[in-house]
């Protein structure tokens, strides 16, 4: 039956995460952004909430409660706190979920427990490539067999970028084309021929994002995720990113709304001006609409659908809506929207990232 109310359990999770975002993430977000440094203690406490662990298989110590809808709810709240820190908190999923979804039992046994320990363990997924028209479905990074015999090693060449590269990570999952097929491989960070250099980006500056170069990186066949399905991975990435984007947009909307109710000009609160009030109304409508699209895509994933269509529609809508909300927030703040003492300019920089990221978070 059509319904849009989170279950009681979901409502509880949302409440917990929102409080975490408000009390733990928000107070440090600006400082982290300026310092280009993640708050290790916040990540540790986030790990204790078990947000990612809860979605991993019970067999390896996870909660076994995988739900893309719940994942979307969590992602929105975290990103409402701060996008960079949200992506960091969720980064273990980048390493764990592809293995849970596409990996063999051996691969799961080898890798999943690492994300389920006492310590926060980040994952890394390398999808985006540093070129015009970067295409997740057809990586320009190439994988070829080292030999002609069955089961021979793979050799990978290419370049990736926007790869979350947090301290303490051990592996990275890299996609590459073998002929017309997109493959995924689990590589140790220490693999010979693999170099990672941190890049600086316009937004999410607290999050270390790496440029990867792969020069004849040799991996055994066992590093390949045999059941890898790039459409499914991208759809899950788009839903997660869309949910994050809704969080960013909501944060921008709220800060603009509150400021507009405070700030006076020409003798009234600026929120009492139709030009401002209607802009806020449009933001609110578009944000709610984008959230529903995101939920629908997530729900379809939970039904076992590929959901690439719905996920794509959702992220396309969200990237527009979030940018408009952030840009609108800057306008509402006027001069104050342009300075780094206030949040709108950060929302604007972060919101634009939504248009260039791909699979930087997963549900």
């Amino acid at each position: 039956m059509i319904d849009f109310s989170p279950s009681e359990e979901q409502a509880l999770v949302v409440d917990t995460v929102r409080q975490f975002a408000e009390k733990e993430i928000r107070p440090v977000a600006r400082k982290c952004e300026e310092a280009k440094q993640l708050p290790a203690d916040v990540l540790a406490r986030a790990h204790e909430l078990g947000l990612v662990a809860n979605a991993l298989p019970e067999a390896y110590g996870g909660g076994g409660e995988r739900s893309a809808v719940t994942g979307a709810l969590i992602a929105e709240e975290l990103a409402w706190g701060d996008l960079a820190i949200a992506l960091a908190v969720l980064s273990p999923a980048l390493g764990a979920l592809p293995i849970a979804d596409f990996g063999s039992e051996a691969q799961q046994r080898a890798h999943l427990p690492g994300f389920l320990g006492n310590r926060f363990a980040p994952g890394a997924l390398a999808i985006v490539e540093p070129r015009v028209g970067s295409d997740a479905f057809r990586p320009a990074t190439l994988a070829r067999r080292a030999g002609s015999e069955a089961g021979s090693d793979y050799v990978i060449d290419g370049a990736k970028c926007l790869v979350p590269w947090l301290e303490g990570g051990t592996h990275v999952i890299v996609t590459a084309s073998e002929g017309a097929e997109a493959r995924a491989f689990v590589l140790p960070r220490s693999a010979a021929g693999l170099t990672a250099v941190r890049d600086a980006t316009m937004g999410v500056s607290a999050l270390p994002l790496a440029d990867l170069t792969l020069r004849s990186v040799r991996v055994p066949e066992s590093a390949r995720l045999a059941a890898f399905d790039v459409r499914r991975l991208v759809a899950r990435g788009r839903v997660a990113l869309a949910a994050c984007g809704v969080g960013v947009a909501r944060a921008a909307f709220e800060v603009a709304r509150d400021y507009a109710k405070e700030r006076e000009a020409f003798g009234t609160k600026i929120a009492q001006k139709q030009a401002i009030a209607f802009k806020l109304a449009d933001m609110a409508i578009e944000i709610d609409g984008a959230r529903l699209l995101t939920w629908e895509a997530a729900w379809k994933l939970d039904q076992g659908d590929d959901a690439l269509r719905e996920a794509t529609l959702a992220i396309n809508q969200v990237k527009r809506v979030a940018l408009e909300a952030a840009d609108g927030a800057v306008q509402v703040f006027g001069g104050h929207g342009y300075v780094r003492d206030y949040l709108p300019e950060l929302h604007l920089r972060n919101a634009r990232g939504l248009a260039v990221f791909e699979a930087i978070a997963l549900v």
């Binding site: 209607f278 578009e286 396309n316």
Partner: protein
């Protein structure tokens, strides 16, 4: 629980109304766009004698108000003008259902579920030449006189007004003020039965679209209705009176709240008609939106189609959300206005884009796309314009009274 699963029963209902739309509305769509003020007898007679008694089938729970929205969407996918010309109780009926006594309901609404020879319509008459979006500025007066009220004034833009004023069992719910000094509190709703002396059908509008629908101007000259035809209490609630008021103006507003998701769903239906058709036509030329296209190869038309899909689905989901809240008995005034505002704007743009995508074919009357563009635009205007809905949303999100944000 968050779910996008349509119940089996509602799926069957959707299919049922889709067939009805495809079989009984689409074939005469163009005819009654061209023949603007003619009664679409094929549809009206069939619906009255047969259509309204057909059963969709299906068992188990339905999606409730969401299913009602689906029905409106399907029938307006068929033809929004014909839908509005369907012999049913309409907004006038909603007002009676919301604010009427059991006697009033029985008296005015029973006809719509009984087997009768002659079709009937209900309508609501609010707008006046000097009171468009500003309903509180109503000038039509209702003066108590003995056991009656005497109505005087002129109403415009009364959807379904011809049918309601002329069909044997029809009625018009007329908003009038019993006390101009009382502002909103003086505004009451009266059921005026068809054929009441003093009620005159002055004329019908020539419109951009939804031409099969009768948009009437009704004049009331010393038009008498029994006091029993007043909906709700006859107490006047002053604007400065903080006590619990009656259902006069507020009751009417409640009617709007309940109707807005349906009106939004109607909009979605028109938008879908255009989008479905354009996608089919473009697919014949090998143009279909890809969701995994290389960014540099995505065509402008593909992106347009994907945007139209996203916008339409956004409007539909906002609509369903407002309806689902009614299922849960939650107040949904904010969400209903959001849905109405988004749906009106989205389908205006979708249908305008559809004409462009089909180029010369889209602009020709040989196809229905140009008609859907004309039909769609009404959704930005009636039952609260785009701007009025933005205003309502703005007040809610800012927690402002109407005095604080005008």
């Amino acid at each position: 629980m968050i779910s996008f699963a349509i119940t089996d029963r509602s799926e069957k209902a959707r299919a049922h109304f889709h067939r009805m739309a495809a079989e009984h509305m689409r074939p005469i769509s163009r005819k009654y766009d061209d023949q603007e003020h003619d009664l679409p007898t094929e549809w009206v007679d069939w619906y009255w004698r047969t259509g309204r008694f057909t059963q969709p089938g299906g068992e188990g729970p339905s999606d409730g108000f969401v299913q009602v929205c689906m029905q409106a969407e399907e029938l307006c996918w068929g033809d929004a003008g014909l839908y509005l010309r369907t012999p049913f109780a309409g907004l006038g009926g909603s007002a009676v259902a919301a604010a009427g006594t059991p006697e009033q309901k029985k008296k005015f609404l029973a006809v719509f579920s009984e087997l009768n020879a002659e079709p009937a319509w209900g309508a609501m008459a609010i707008t006046e030449a000097g009171a468009g979006s500003d309903s509180a500025a109503i000038q039509t007066t209702a003066t108590p006189d003995g056991d009656d009220y005497v109505l005087n004034g002129t109403k415009i833009f009364c959807t379904g007004g011809e049918g309601a004023a002329k069909s044997p069992a029809g009625f018009v719910v007329v908003w009038a003020t019993v006390d101009k000094t009382a502002g909103r509190g003086g505004i009451k709703a009266f059921v005026v039965p068809a054929g009441s002396p003093g009620m005159t059908l002055v004329g019908l509008e020539n419109k951009l679209g939804i031409r099969a629908s009768d948009t009437a101007t009704l004049r009331f000259e010393n038009c008498r209705v029994p006091r029993a035809n007043l909906l709700g209490s006859d107490k006047i609630r002053r604007d400065d009176d903080k006590s619990a008021g009656d259902k006069g103006f507020k009751g009417a507003m409640a009617t709007f709240d309940a109707s807005r998701p349906i009106v939004a769903a109607m909009a979605v239906g028109v938008g879908r008609a255009a989008l479905d058709f354009v996608k089919e036509e473009l697919a014949k030329s090998g143009i279909a939106p890809r969701y995994d296209a290389p960014p540099a190869e995505l065509t402008a038309m593909e992106r347009d189609l994907a945007e139209m899909e996203a916008e339409l689905q956004t409007a539909r989901l906002l609509t369903w959300r407002a309806a689902a809240m009614m299922n849960r008995g939650k107040p949904n005034s904010l969400e209903a206005s959001m849905a109405k505002a988004k749906a009106g704007l989205a389908v205006t743009k979708i249908t305008q884009k559809a004409v462009e995508l089909l180029g010369p074919l889209g602009y020709s009357k040989k196809l229905l796309v140009e008609k859907w563009m004309r039909d769609a635009k009404i959704n930005d205007i009636y039952e609260g314009t785009q701007q009025i809905n933005q205003l309502i949303v703005a007040r809610r999100i800012l927690d402002y009274s109407s005095a604080m944000l005008r």
